[in-house]
Structures are given as C-alpha cells and as structure tokens.
C-alpha cells in the first residue's frame, strides 16, 4: 500500500478504506511498445549480418556499435522505469474522511488533490467499450459542490462496487458529522 504519511497530514482516526490505480492492462500496452523497441537493435543486427557483415566485426565499427546499442538500451530502460512509476504511483485513495487523487506525471512531477467526503454530491460509474466491459474496469465520476466540479477515478477495477462503497462512506461521514454537531449543540 502507498505510504500516506508522505503525502498528507493524516488525522489520528483516519483509515484508508481502499486504494486504486488504473487497470494493469493499460500498463501492459505500454510494455508491448517497450518490447517492440527492445527488439529493434536485434532486427538491425540480423539485417547487417546479411547485408554488411564487416561492420559488425571491424575494430573501429564494433566498439562504436556496442556503445550505441548500450546507450540505446539504457535509455529504453529509463523509459520503462519512468512508465512504471507513472503507472504505479498514480493512485486514488479513499479514507474514512476524504478522497485523494495522487497523480504522478513522469519522474519529477506529482499532483495531490483531495476532496472531503462531506462535499461529495453524486457518484457515477461508467464502463465503456469492449475491453472495459470484458475486464470490468472503467471510470468513477465524483460530483462536488466545490470549484473543481468533478473528481475522476480513471480506468479503475470494479467501478460499480466503488461507487456503492463510496456512497456508503459519504453517508457514514454525514452521520458522524451530524452526531458531532448534535453533541456540540447540546446544552451543558
């Protein structure tokens, strides 16, 4: 589970109810691109072996090619870890008190948005498309009364269940706050 203490000031009684990120199938799509790019130098090696074999064994050309290939794979590997971090650290958290959207953009940028459960007005789930229907993932839209009208959980697993659970949590939060207000209004 993501370390919440590094992101927000957690209240003493606050608990993480669930944590979500986009479906892994979307990250898999990016891994396919990585494999295609990784296979490119191997394809070139095969082509050069047939067309111009001397370039692969020349005393000058061989070290140059080795260094170029090595640099290419190092850059590709950096691309992989950047994509992984982008996917893995992009999370949605629902606690007993609020909703958090931690958005990782590349390696050096992160945005954390939070929304108090008491401000949630409406929650909508949406599953659109063949792949999303088959694998049961989609978007959850949270409507609020604030300036940022919509909070979106993009491509999360079981959006319908999340919507139901979120509405229950909103209801629980309202009850809790009502009890606190009643407690405060009681004559001493």
């Amino acid at each position: 589970m993501i370390d919440l203490d590094h992101l927000i000031d957690k209240k003493p009684e606050e608990k993480i109810i669930f944590q979500m990120r986009s479906h892994w199938i979307l990250f898999l799509g990016e891994l396919v691109l990585l494999w295609v790019l990784a296979a490119l130098p191997i394809g070139l090696y095969v082509v050069f072996s047939g067309v111009w074999p001397s370039i692969l064994i020349g005393t000058l050309s061989k070290p140059i090619l080795v260094l170029m290939t090595s640099a290419y794979y190092l850059m590709l590997w950096t691309f992989f870890i950047t994509k992984f971090i982008d996917y893995y650290l992009d999370v949605y958290l629902v606690t007993t008190d609020r909703v958090l959207d931690v958005s990782q953009q590349g390696m050096f940028a992160r945005t954390v948005s939070e929304l108090d459960l008491a401000r949630v007005q409406d929650v909508t789930s949406e599953v659109k498309g063949i792949l999303r229907s088959l694998m049961n993932f989609g978007n959850v839209y949270i409507e609020t009364a604030g300036a940022k009208e919509r909070f979106i959980f993009e491509d999360v697993k079981h959006p319908d269940l999340i919507r139901k659970r979120l509405l229950e949590l909103v209801e629980d939060d309202r009850k809790r706050q009502g009890e606190v207000i009643a407690e405060l209004g009681r004559p001493v």
Binding site: M1, I2, D3, H6, L7, Y45, P53, S54, I55, L56, I57, G58, T59, L60, S61, K62, P63, I64, L65, V66, L67, T69, S70, A71, Y73, L74, M75, W77, T78, F80, I81, T82, F84, I85, Y88, L89, M107, F108
Partner: protein, 88 residues
C-alpha cells in the same frame, strides 16, 4: 585528414551513463519512498536493477580487447581492420 582517438567516443557514452545512474537512483528513491511495501514495487525495482546490470555486463563483454588508441579518420574506413567474427 582530421582524426581523433577512438577513446573519445567514451565521453558521450559516459555522460549517458551518468544521466542513467541519476535517473535510476531517483526512480528507486521514488519507489522506496512511496510504494516500497508491495511486492510489485519490489519486483519492478529488482527487474530494473537486474536489467541495468545485464546491459553493462554485455557492454563490457562486447568492448573487451578493444584498442582504444586507434584513430578514427574522417573520410577513412568506417569499419577499420576486420577481425575474426566473434563477439558482439
């Protein structure tokens, strides 16, 4: 004709390696700081570091026996002397 030693091409490669090391260290730091408690985070960090070791090992293997004092000449032969078809 203008020529320079082969060892000069190690400079741009060294710069790429330094950038890679910086980005790798920062990535691992990010993963450890925010998501170290899961198996997938650990697996990705391990795969990344293992992959990097793999690339460096094969680079070292491919460069073994290279004569870095050779001169690259503009307009000269691109391949240099052709050796036996082993390695790479």
């Amino acid at each position: 004709m203008l020529s320079f030693p082969l060892s000069l091409i190690l400079i741009p490669y060294g710069i790429i390696v330094l950038i890679f090391i910086f980005l790798a260290a920062y990535s691992v730091h990010n993963l450890v700081r925010y998501g170290a408690t899961t198996n997938s985070s650990f697996a990705a960090t391990f795969a990344f570091l293992a992959g990097a070791v793999f690339v460096f090992f094969f680079t070292w293997q491919g460069l073994r026996g290279t004569d870095w004092s050779q001169q690259i000449t503009f307009g000269g032969s691109l391949t240099g002397v052709t050796t036996s078809p082993s390695g790479l």
